[in-house]
């Protein structure tokens, strides 16, 4: 520790004695307490400054800037960025970094996360200008300071938490579940899929509903009714599943070929670029477009 605090003490005590004759209303005890409080504040500010300096000097920390917003606290209604210096460990992900900041610096820092292994799809953030999954993004691969924001094009509820209701509505609107025309007579019989067909839908089954693609899509941002890449991918997954049968496939194609369906896609490839599960979303949407055309083309 430095020798600063004792010096401050003497400074303040002299100030105290000189001020005493003028302010008779305040008792010496109060003044002493106030002085102690000031001293403590000084000391803590100093400690903070020292910690800051130490953090800057220490190469093994990473600077993260996190978007903060809390509509329930008046002082926090104006969004701001908070800077944290997080000790770096090998293999650290963006989620690890914000978790460290929450656990050690500010317990009010709010974000969704669960499995930490890119399965649950809870922690999609806007990191350094791109939609990424916090738990799948290595801190070492990002430029400093790392800017962590909530997903764009979605309403912010608090800090990094966005309102997912609209995204889930879009997902539900394409009936994202297996629904075959005919089920086998015996309920316990397996409904087998050919290997080739499985390969065809394989990538589309990997969706974890993280909404990174939906957030990156310019068209979805401008057209609230547009199904969006994730929902169209879901539709693809079941429309291409041969076990569902022809009439269900036609129904699914009718859903996706509506005004706010596949034809809104302008092939910007934003969704394909950001998908943390590497689903070729644009490719699937394009294939659905061709299927929709084939369905409607009649040459007689």
């Amino acid at each position: 520790m430095s020798t600063q605090p004792p010096q401050q003490e003497t400074d303040e005590s002299t100030a105290e004695t000189s001020a005493e004759p003028e302010t008779e209303s305040t008792s010496p005890g109060q003044q002493k307490r106030a002085a102690q409080k000031r001293e403590r504040a000084n000391a803590s500010a100093q400690r903070q400054a020292e910690a800051d300096a130490k953090a800057k000097a220490d190469e093994e920390t990473r600077e993260i800037k996190v978007f903060r917003y809390d509509p329930e606290v008046e002082e926090k209604q104006e969004p701001r960025f908070d800077t944290f210096h997080v000790p770096f460990t090998k293999g650290m992900t963006v989620l690890d970094a914000v978790m460290y900041a929450r656990d050690h610096y500010d317990p009010s820092l709010t974000f969704r996360h669960s499995c930490r292994q890119a399965i649950c799809g809870s922690d999609a953030f806007f990191v350094n200008g791109r939609q990424r999954l916090g738990c799948k993004t290595q801190v070492s691969e990002l430029d400093e300071p790392i800017r962590i924001e909530p997903l764009p094009h979605q309403d912010v509820v608090k800090d990094l938490v966005v309102d997912m209701d609209h995204f889930y509505e879009e997902m539900e609107s394409v009936d994202p579940y297996f629904d075959p025309d005919e089920t086998p007579g015996n309920d316990l019989e397996e409904q087998r899929q050919s290997r080739a067909n499985r390969e065809k839908v394989k990538m589309s089954t990997r969706c974890i509903w993280c909404a990174a693609c939906f957030s990156s899509c310019n068209i979805a941002a401008g057209d609230n009714q547009y199904l969006g890449p994730a929902a169209l991918n879901k539709a693809y997954r079941f429309a291409m599943d041969e076990r569902e049968g022809e009439s269900r496939k036609q129904e699914r194609l009718e859903t996706i070929e509506q005004e706010h369906g596949v034809w809104r896609c302008q092939t910007q490839f934003s969704c394909t670029n950001v998908c943390p599960k590497d689903i070729p979303l644009t490719e699937h949407i394009q294939e659905l477009k061709r299927e929709a055309v084939k369905k409607n083309l009649k040459f007689w």
Partner: protein, 141 residues
């Protein structure tokens, strides 16, 4: 739902630096498309007003003094028009090349290299534009 905050520009063009190839291709395609539509109508307006004014007299036509010819000659004598013509070529070439790229995308061909085909169309546009400059600018000074 609780209150939410509109983050303004971050929602759209505020993050243009982070746009990827496919996004730029889309923006350029829209832009060049509108420029071509604008040019088309200007073109129709200028020519359709100049043609009826052209003299039917063969002697005037031979001397190159009819209104249509003089209009075109006046336009071509302006350096600004020459530069705009180079620009028009660049816009048209990019729109054609990116249009071919989009055709491939629609057919589902080479979607993995869509960014490379965008860069290729940009480079080709640049090359063709540069190569056209001597032809367009010749005699403008």
């Amino acid at each position: 739902m609780s209150q939410s905050y509109n983050r303004g520009l971050i929602e759209d063009f505020g993050r243009w630096r982070e746009f990827s190839a496919g996004m730029w291709a889309w923006i350029f395609h829209k832009f060049t498309g509108w420029v071509l539509v604008g040019y088309l109508f200007t073109h129709i307006a200028v020519l359709s007003t100049a043609i009826p004014a052209a003299s039917q007299d063969p002697a005037t036509l031979a001397a190159g003094e009819d209104i249509y010819t003089t209009t075109i000659v006046t336009l071509e004598s302006l350096l600004l028009v020459r530069i705009l013509e180079v620009g028009l070529l660049a816009v048209a070439v990019f729109h054609i090349l990116n249009g071919l790229r989009l055709l491939l995308v629609d057919l589902g061909i080479g979607l993995d290299s869509q960014d490379k085909s965008f860069y290729a169309s940009l480079i080709l546009t640049g090359a063709i534009t540069v190569a056209s400059v001597p032809t367009f600018i010749a005699g403008a000074f």
